[in-house]
Symmetry: C2
DNA sequence: TCCTAAAATACAAACGTTTCAATTATTGCT
DNA sequence: AGCAATAATTGAAACGTTTGTATTTTAGGA
């Protein structure tokens, strides 16, 4: 049997398609009794709106583009970010609405920009979610200029208000550093994402501020930036192994790089808790099972990703961007006391 | 400026829309010279086909549904499967074709079935990719019956040929077990996914066969099944800690559960390499950074996921299912010698 | 009862595409 | 030249919606 359309309902209800259309969308110009009858029939024959017809007519796409930078294919390195969780969160908040998510995996900034241009010009989506933001992010400027609805995961330094969801990286980084200083550490290494990313900058700022507040001199070589893989974490430890000032603590931006740090400890014979310790931020509860478990700052990834979906819809529906901003504060999970013991 | 449509081209080329449409799709009934002219113009004004019109007219959706069972939301447990990689692979092979992937995250078998029914009945996609297959998988029966194109990640026990991509779990499990037996282990624990999944069955079969071949009695309590999280791996070790026969080796179905096993070792004071060792299958190169690194079987996840995308398209285009089957054999990566040393 | 205003519905066009049937242009042959 | 056969193109309808405008129905006075 063919799929039920508005026309099917119209025939059954002896109404015109126009009225049925209006009835279904609760238009005030149609009588309550009629609405009821139409809904009744629609229910009975299991009618669902055909999106293609709708799109064609309205010019809207009812889809949200999620432009995500995904790990370089072929690298085989775990980047620790749980895209699944993010996608789940976004799709979760889209459920029940008319919107669908369309994923656009890209592998660097330029191709993400290109993809965004494409989406905007071809009207491939009604709104865009992006991540991997930069302090001066050309994609944001572009979408602002085109007045195209978007939400970012992470912030930038634009003046014009825009909608974002982010973890408070700077404060978290500062707190984490201060905590370690208070526990007696002075040679603290900060492992960060690539330099051009906004949250790398924020993390570095927080780190530096904490050191300055404590009157500790900042060592340039203690600020590492690179892809947040185990490989990079490991390489960082090795690179500093023969440094005159020996690091006694590492604060990693995610669990993947922290795993690499532990791996380096193991390989180099650095004793955890005696020679050095590791912390991580952006915990997604993997490090609870590390050997040993490490202290982290938990990222409520469900909350942030749900907000992404919610915000983009509200943005599309016209809510002002400045009302759609969320900053979450990750929570400390102390799995070690993180003092050095003899 | 409004978006360029077929009509725009028709006007510029002084042709009817019908001819333009045919010209663009390389129909034999239109003159070569005309085709060229049309293409030229299309190129110039940056025409791209409007999918909604196409869909509405043809009734095809040009989208592939990816119905994936995702980790239970709220569980906060790492399941180790890199959905990102799978998605990337699928989307990679869709790139350049007219097809788009639409993700349907579901959280259990029933809802995945429901979602599939929906997709088939409402013709929400032209083809479906599913995972988490069972020996007697009702979803597969359903799609076979409806003659709806699909590809599975993992196998079932259906007679009718269908398109699948899978790792050779049984052989891998058997080989892994045999290898450990040859290295002197007799009390080997097999950590598997939930019992109802096909690949759990395959793994158990391989494990049992290896033991039988070696004349070793199978201990029921050495076959564990459950969610492949670190938590489960850890719990399994703990549950067997006071067993009369002490396990000396664990073969985990993925790296996440292996991480849990190592975590239990650490907590219980079980010395790796002296008291027991751990192996894992479905390696996605995280365990190289474990403490210590462990022996695994590497899963070429790019290859499998690329095949998924490729197969579903070819299936949609009408290729017979029996030509679209791929079984990959994971490769041993020896990161330990895995003998017990005093 | 009739008229007017308001309420409810019907009609028809449009979105961009494909495709069937009909028409026109071209070619080859006598 | 003329004719048939074929090649190339056109016209129009259709897919399922929404929506502006026209039309009909209803209700409320006088």
């Amino acid at each position: 049997m063919a799929r039920a359309t508005i026309k099917t309902i119209a025939q059954k209800a002896e109404l015109s398609v126009g009225t049925v259309s209006r009835a279904l969308k609760d238009c005030s110009s149609v009588k309550d009794k009629t609405k009821q009858r139409v809904r009744q029939i629609a229910e009975e024959i299991g009618y669902v709106r055909n999106l293609d017809g709708l799109r064609l007519r309205t010019g809207r796409t009812y889809s949200v583009a999620v432009v995500m930078t995904t790990p370089t294919t072929g690298s085989h390195e775990w980047e620790g970010v749980e895209y699944t969780n993010i996608l789940n969160g976004i799709m979760g908040s889209l459920r029940g609405t008319m919107y669908r998510a369309a994923i656009y995996p890209v592998d660097d900034f330029d191709s993400s920009f290109q993809e965004i241009r494409n989406i905007v010009e071809q009207r491939l989506a009604d709104g865009i979610i992006i991540s991997g933001t930069r302090p001066d992010d050309a994609r944001i400027s572009y979408m602002l200029e085109k007045d195209f609805p978007f939400v970012t995961y992470g912030m930038s330094e634009h003046f014009t208000p825009y909608s974002y969801v982010d973890a408070n990286s700077q404060e978290m980084s500062q707190k984490a550093t201060t905590r370690l200083i208070q526990l007696g550490h002075t040679n603290i290494v900060s492992i960060n994402p690539p330099d051009e990313l906004m949250y790398s900058k924020q993390r570095q700022r927080g780190y530096i501020r904490a050191l300055q507040d404590a009157g500790i001199e900042v060592q340039a070589e203690f600020i590492a930036t690179g892809p947040l893989t185990p490989e990079f974490g490991k390489a960082t430890v090795k690179a500093l192994y023969n440094n005159d000032k020996k690091p006694t603590a590492y604060i990693c931006a995610n669990e993947a790089s922290a795993l690499g740090v532990l791996s380096a400890f193991y390989e180099l014979g650095i004793k955890f808790g005696k020679d050095a310790i590791v912390n991580a931020t952006d915990d997604i509860n993997v490090s609870a099972y590390f050997t040993p478990p490490i202290t982290t700052y938990f990222l409520p990834i469900e909350e942030t990703s749900k907000a992404l979906g919610e915000f983009i819809i509200r943005r599309i529906e016209g809510e002002p961007a400045q009302d759609l901003q969320r900053m979450v504060m990750p929570q400390l999970i102390e799995r070690q006391d993180d003092r050095l013991k003899p």
